[in-house]
């Protein structure tokens, strides 16, 4: 490409910096507001100046507004969801990618259609059903419906696409069974696909609000529900504690993003390829 003039370069970098500010500033202010002295005006604190006060606020958020309990609960159902989701989706991706069998087309289009079927269309009957099964307010009740993720099947299939079928054929000649091949050969090869799915689905499940709010009551406290209740106008708590609570709630997805950025971006790109 033609090289840019210095002025042109500056122009693009200035534009890019403006949006960087818009994107990161709110996250930054959340952080600096939490870690500031009580004497500072909390809405105009742009830099953290008291680590100790921040720690105090965080621990207050963890205990008084149940953020600690909520984090643990959310962690549990998110983990259960992802483990279940990985098992069922990777198996489905394996079958769809490598084998031909009668009815494959129909089954696959069912999966594709379910991508177009947003949860709201069936959430009310689902909620009544889970309630009648006696699963409301249990980890399984929250997790089981969230495990069905066509997008996960789809992403894993993209990772399997490049693998030659000869791998499977030669393993079969060596006498390995269908599921043995899956566990011993295919799973290790789709390591990146599993990682990408895990990271994306972790962020997604952590942020779920509608479904957990319907299906839980006393025993399980989803972080989304606790934060939403805290933000209601009649809930009074020190504003720095509020900020601290939000900071804790966004930390897990943020950390996952910072650690696995490459996989996140790759996953998003992949989910668009065939759409």
């Amino acid at each position: 490409m033609r090289s840019q003039s210095f002025l042109e370069k500056c122009f693009w970098y200035i534009l890019a910096s403006i949006w960087t500010l818009v994107a990161l500033f709110p996250i930054w202010v959340l952080f600096s507001g939490t870690f500031s002295k009580d004497t500072n005006n909390v809405t105009q604190t742009y830099f953290p100046n008291s680590i100790s006060n921040g720690i105090e606020k965080v621990s207050e958020a963890l205990s008084t507004i149940n953020i600690g309990q909520a984090t643990i609960d959310t962690f549990i159902y998110t983990t259960v969801t992802i483990v279940g989701l990985l098992i069922i989706s990777s198996l489905a991706a394996y079958e769809f990618s490598f084998f031909n069998f009668p009815g494959k087309k129909v089954l696959f289009s069912l999966v594709m259609i379910s991508m177009m079927m947003p949860m709201i269309l069936y959430v009310i009957p689902l909620y009544r059903m889970v309630y009648h099964m006696g699963l409301s307010d249990t980890v399984l009740g929250v997790s089981l419906p969230l495990m069905v993720s066509a997008l996960s099947v789809f992403i894993m299939m993209q990772f399997l696409e490049g693998l030659p079928i000869s791998i499977i054929e030669s393993a079969r000649i060596d006498g390995a069974g269908h599921f043995r091949i899956f566990v011993k050969i295919v799973l290790p090869l789709m390591r990146n696909g599993i990682l990408t799915t895990t990271v994306l689905m972790f962020m997604k499940t952590w942020g779920q609000y509608l479904w957990p709010s319907l299906v839980t009551a006393q025993k399980i406290r989803p972080i989304s529900v606790v934060i939403a209740n805290m933000l209601a106008p009649n809930f009074w708590v020190d504003s720095r504690v509020k900020l601290a609570a939000m900071l804790v709630a966004m930390l897990p997805p943020m950390l996952v993003y910072l650690l696995f950025q490459r996989y996140v971006i790759e996953g998003v790109t992949m989910s668009s390829v065939k759409g």
């Binding site: 960087t20 709110p26 089954l107 947003p118 009310i124 509608l210 759409g275």
Partner: protein, 316 residues
Amino acid sequence: MRSKKNPVKKEKNLKFQKYLVNYLGLLPFFVLFVVFVLYPFFYGIVMSFTDWSVSSRGNVNFVGLENYKYVLSGVGTSSVRFLASLKNLLIYVPLTLLIGLTLSLVLALILSQIKRGYSFFRGAWFAPYVLPLFICAGIWQWFMTTNTGLVASFFAKLGIGVGVDWSSTAIYAIFLVIFIDVWNSVGFNFVMISAGMKDISPELYEAAELDGASTIQKMRYITIPMLEPILFVVITYGFVSALQVYDIPWILSGTGDYNNIGGPGQCMLFPVMEMVRNIYLGANSGLGRATAEGVILMIFIMLITLVQFKVRKKRY
């Protein structure tokens, strides 16, 4: 599958056995899919024609199109509210898509001009999408507090919404939701668009440069037309998720009072919120009405995806 024990169809039997392992591998996914997606989906459609409510234990009566007639009639609180929510949706969906798409396109174009620091900018711009929606709602609720909020007072200085309580004033409330939604989702959309841009052959640009095209001209005549397939995906995703907007307005207009869900004058009420209100309210036929509202929403979603696919097929 039923032919398994039929001796006449021995050949089919053998064939089935050969594929048994494949069906076995798909079984876990499809069992959960049928139980937790497909069954409730059809159950919901059927129940939208009944007087189903939270308190009806097994005995429901078919009422024909009553629920549909009611929610679309404009008579009665729930119906008035539902129609108001559709009206808000009518403003929200096109605006949020238009603004969101334009912005993500612009960001992708800016990024395509940047060589050093490419992945830093991409990573930073994607970050808001990583935040759960309930956190976005919380941060912006704080920023947009009347008079004291950081961004609200900044806007007030520019003469926008002086002294207005954004989350409870008509039109402003919808813009607040649009604003938060765009801030959050632009990261996702722009990453998809950027990925599409990278796939455009550099030869096209080189040819244009030989003809003396400017940067802007290259964008207008090469980049955007070549991006059409990916823009379709982004728009379809955007439509489906915008129609179901829930988390942000629910939290921002949240009160303990079920009659005030969606804020004063339903300024921030959206269809999914009204459906959920019907669950909590526990009125007669409440669930029947809520599922009917769901079916109406579904018809919108199906129509829109259908149109998108038709248009797409025509072009490619």
